[in-house]
Symmetry: C2
Subunit: 465 residues, 2 copies
C-alpha cells in the first residue's frame, strides 16, 4: 500500500464527517430565501481550497458566485479542470423524506441528504483526492483547477456569462482560467451497482418549432373542406416525411458526417448484457422501435433521432368540432451524434419542409437551440488514465458507455476551449437525485476519492509535449 492509499484509508472517518458538514448547508439555488446559505456553501468550499494552498477566488456573477481554485503550477504536467456544482435542488416534498434533507443521515451504508450525489458528494471526492497528494507527497502530479458553480440547478446564467468573458479582468480572462488539457466531471451514475463506467460520448441536439398558418380563421370543415389546405393535414405530412418506416431520418445528407460506431464500441455495448425487455417493461411499453440494424442501447447512446416533442392544432376538447384549423404547430428535435452539425440539420430540415408545404400554407421554422454531440476517443490517453484510476479505486475495470442526453456545459467547454470532458460518475441510477431521499453510497464515495487520487497520478504520466 502506498503512502497515498494509506492516507486515504486512514482518513475515511474524517471524509465522512466533512461530507456531513458539507451536506448540512442548504445551498438551494432556485429559492431566493436561501441566498445566504448558497453563499455560505461557496465560502465553505473556497476555504477548503485555500487550506490546500490553492489560489482561490469567489467570482461574483449576476446570480450565485462561482468558486475557482487553482493548485500551484506543476511545470510540464498536463492540466485538468474539474467542473462541478455546489448548489442543490429544492427538497420538496419534505414530508416524503425519511430524515430531513439537510440533516444528513447514514442508513445501510448510504448517506441520505439533498446534494448527497448531485453534486456535492461526488464533486468533493476530487478535493479529497487532491488533498491526499498535498498531505503526503507535498504537491500534485498535475496542474489542477476547479470551477464549481452555484447555479447548475437554475440555469447556470452566471457560469455562461463568465465563460463569455463578462467577468474578465485585464489580468486574467475566463478563457485563460479554464484552459486545460481535459475536463473531469463527476455528476452522473455508474453503469450499475458494482460496475463503474466512463461516459465518453454525449449526443447533441437540434431543437425546432414548426408553425403552419392556413386560413385567417378556423373554417367550417363541411362548407370549406376539400377546397383548401388544412394546416394540420400539412403538418402531419411534413412530420411523417422526416423518418421512414425503418426509423431512418429522411433529411438530405443527414448521415453523411456522422462517426459510425466502431466494431469495438458495438462489442463493448453488447457485452453489457443490457436487458431490452426489462427496459421496455420499465417504461411501460410492450416493445421498442428505432433505426433498423441497431440495438436499443446503440440507438439510445450513439444513433441520431428525430422526436416530436409537442404537437398542437385546432380543437383538443371533448366530442366533435368540425373545423379546418387556422394553424398547426409542432416541436421537433433531433438528437445528434458526434460530428453532426446542428446548422446543417437546420438547413436540411428547412429544405425538406419547404418541399412539402402545400399551396395556401405559410411555413415558419424556428431554431430553438442546437449543440453538437461530443465524444472522447476511446484511444485517448486520458481515457486510458481514467480507466486505470477507476480500476485502482473501485477494484474493477470500468465499462465505456455513452449517454443519449446532452450536457450543455460539456458543449460549452468543447466550443469555447476545445476541451474534451471525461464523465466519471460515482453515483447510481436509483440515487433519487431531484427526488426525496437523495442518497449516495458511502463505499462509492470512498472509491471516488481513491480513484481521484489515482487519476491525478495517471494523468500526470501523460506527456504534453
Amino acid at each position: 500500500m502506498t503512502s497515498l492509499d494509506k492516507f486515504i484509508n486512514d482518513n475515511r472517518n474524517r471524509y465522512e464527517s466533512e461530507l456531513m458538514d458539507w451536506l448540512k448547508i442548504p445551498s438551494i439555488s432556485t429559492d431566493p430565501a436561501y441566498k445566504a446559505d448558497v453563499k455560505r456553501g461557496a465560502e465553505w468550499l473556497a476555504e477548503r481550497f485555500r487550506s490546500l494552498k490553492f489560489k482561490t477566488e469567489l467570482i461574483e456573477t449576476c446570480g450565485h458566485p462561482l468558486v475557482f481554485a487553482e493548485a500551484p503550477s506543476v511545470p510540464g504536467a498536463p492540466t485538468v479542470l474539474v467542473y462541478g456544482h455546489y448548489d442543490v435542488q429544492p427538497p420538496d416534498p419534505l414530508d416524503e423524506w425519511v430524515t430531513p434533507p439537510f440533516q444528513p443521515s447514514i442508513r445501510e451504508g448510504k448517506v441520505f441528504a439533498r446534494g448527497a450525489t448531485d453534486d456535492k458528494g461526488q464533486m468533493i471526492t476530487h478535493l479529497f483526492g487532491a488533498e491526499a497528494w498535498i498531505k503526503t507527497v507535498g504537491k500534485l502530479p498535475v496542474n489542477l483547477k476547479f470551477l464549481i458553480e452555484g447555479e447548475e440547478e437554475c440555469g447556470s446564467e452566471g457560469l455562461y456569462e463568465f465563460l463569455a468573458g463578462k467577468y474578465d479582468s485585464p489580468l486574467r480572462t475566463a478563457q485563460q482560467m479554464i484552459q486545460a488539457d481535459i475536463v473531469v466531471v463527476s455528476d452522473n451514475a455508474q453503469y450499475g451497482p458494482g460496475q463503474p463506467a466512463v461516459t465518453y460520448g454525449l449526443r447533441g441536439i437540434a431543437y425546432f418549432e414548426i408553425r403552419l398558418t392556413g386560413p385567417k380563421q378556423d373554417l367550417h370543415s363541411g362548407l370549406y373542406g376539400g377546397s383548401i389546405s388544412n394546416p394540420a393535414n400539412a403538418l402531419a405530412r411534413m412530420l411523417a416525411a422526416l423518418v421512414d418506416e425503418n426509423g431512418r431520418i429522411q433529411l438530405d445528407g443527414f448521415y453523411d458526417d456522422i462517426i459510425e460506431l466502431s466494431d469495438n464500441e458495438r462489442e463493448q455495448f453488447a457485452a453489457l448484457g443490457f436487458d431490452e425487455q426489462a427496459y421496455f417493461a420499465g417504461v411501460g411499453v410492450t416493445g421498442g422501435f428505432g433505426e433498423a440494424g441497431y440495438s436499443a442501447l446503440e440507438r439510445r447512446w450513439a444513433r441520431p433521432t428525430c422526436d416530436i416533442n409537442g404537437l398542437w392544432s385546432g380543437y383538443q376538447g371533448a366530442g366533435a368540432k368540425t373545423i379546418i384549423p387556422a394553424r398547426a404547430g409542432a416541436k421537433v428535435s433531433f438528437r445528434l451524434v458526434p460530428n453532426q452539425q446542428p446548422e446543417k440539420v437546420h438547413a436540411a430540415l428547412k429544405a425538406k419542409l419547404e418541399s412539402l408545404c402545400p399551396p395556401g400554407i405559410i411555413l415558419e421554422l424556428i431554431s430553438i437551440h442546437g449543440a453538437p454531440g461530443s465524444m472522447v476517443p476511446l484511444d485517448s490517453p486520458y481515457m486510458t488514465a481514467a480507466a486505470r484510476a477507476i480500476e485502482k479505486g473501485f477494484g474493477k475495470a470500468p465499462v465505456f458507455i455513452r449517454s443519449g442526453g446532452s450536457i450543455p456545459v460539456v458543449n460549452a467547454f468543447a466550443e469555447r476551449a476545445g476541451m474534451d470532458t471525461l464523465l466519471l460518475g460515482w453515483g447510481q441510477d436509483d440515487d433519487n437525485l431531484h427526488s426525496p431521499n437523495e442518497k449516495f453510497l458511502l463505499a462509492d464515495f470512498h472509491r471516488g476519492i481513491a480513484t481521484s487520487a489515482h487519476l491525478w497520478e495517471e494523468i500526470g504520466k501523460i506527456s504534453t509535449t
Copy 2:
C-alpha cells in the same frame, strides 16, 4: 294573373305586417329566461295554422314544444312535409344592432330582426303559400304537413325524442305523422343575389378521435430517444397516410361506393362562374388544395374529404421541452358523399391505423358520430316541380347546387322515413344569421311566398300511383 297570384299580390302589406308581429316574439330557445316567449311563439304559430283549419298540435317535449299541423286530406295527391323552426339564436352582442333585435325595422327593402332569415321569415312563407290556396281555391292541391320545432338552435333534443317515438300515442305515431313523399325546408340561402337555387345534395360525415398511448409517462428524449416508439411520431405517420399528395384518400375501398358527379352536374357547377381566386382570398389563403381533377366547388360540394380537426401531444408552451410524449391524439373527420357509409369508413380507417401502429403504442379509435350524405336525384319530379315553382315565384330559373355541410335533420328524415329533402333557400349568404343585424330581403320574402304557392300546385301534379 291567376286568382292565386292576385291574392298574393294584394296581401303584400298584410304579409309584412304579420311578419313584423312574428319577429317581435323573442323566442330564444337557449336561454331559460325566454321560456315563456318561446311558448308564445309556438302558440302564435299554432293559432295561425288553426285559423286555416289545419289539424294542429303543440307537442310537449323535454324542451320546447313542437308545432305539428296538417291540412285537410287531399286524396290521391302527394304529401309534403314542411320542416322549419320557430326558435332563434340569442341576439348578443346587443350594442352592435342598429335597431333592437326584437323590434323589426325595415331599411332599404330589408327587414332587420333576429329570426328574420333564420328561420321565422323563411319558414312562414310556406304558411302564407298554403293560405293563398285555402283563401282562393278553398283547399290545397297537395297533402300538406308542417313540423316546426323550437330547439333547432339548441340541439333539437325534443325533436329527436319525438322522431324516436318517445311521444307516440296509441292513436298516432311520429312515423305516421311525418310520413310524406317529400320534405321541404327553407332555412338556407340562394346561390347569390338574384340567383335562386335548389340545394339537392349534402355531404355526410364520419368523425373520429384517435388516441395513442406510449410510455407510462413523458420520457427524457435524450436518454430514451431512439429506443422506443414516440406516440406523436406514430400519429403523424398514421395521419399522413390517410391522404396522398394528390388529395386522394387512402383508405381501402373508400371511393368504391360513391356516386360520381355526372357530366350534367359538372357542367352546371362550371356554369356558375365560381371565382376561385376571390374565394381563396376571402378566407385568407393564396391558393387552394384538394383532390386532383376537380374544381374547388366540386371538391367542396361533391367530393369526400379527410380533415384533421384537432391535434395534441406533449409540450405546447414556449421554448423547448425535451420529451418523448406519453400520449398523442387527433380529431379526424371525413366528409362523405351520397352512398358512402360511415360504418365502412370506420372499418377501413381502423384497418389502416392498425396496420401503421408501431410496437409499444396502444391505439384507440373512437367513432364520435357519423351520418351518410344525401342527394335528391336531379331528375326527380319533385326537383322539377321545385324548379318550375321558383321560376314562377322569382322570375328566374334556379341553379342546382349542393352544400358541403351536413344537416342532421335531413339525415333523420332520410333514415327514419326514407324521405328526400328539397332545400329551398330564400336567404342570402350575407344575411347575418347568428350575428347582429340579421336581415331578410322583403322582395325575397314575397318571392318565397309566391314560390311556395306554386310549389304546392306543381307537386300536386305529380302522380303518386
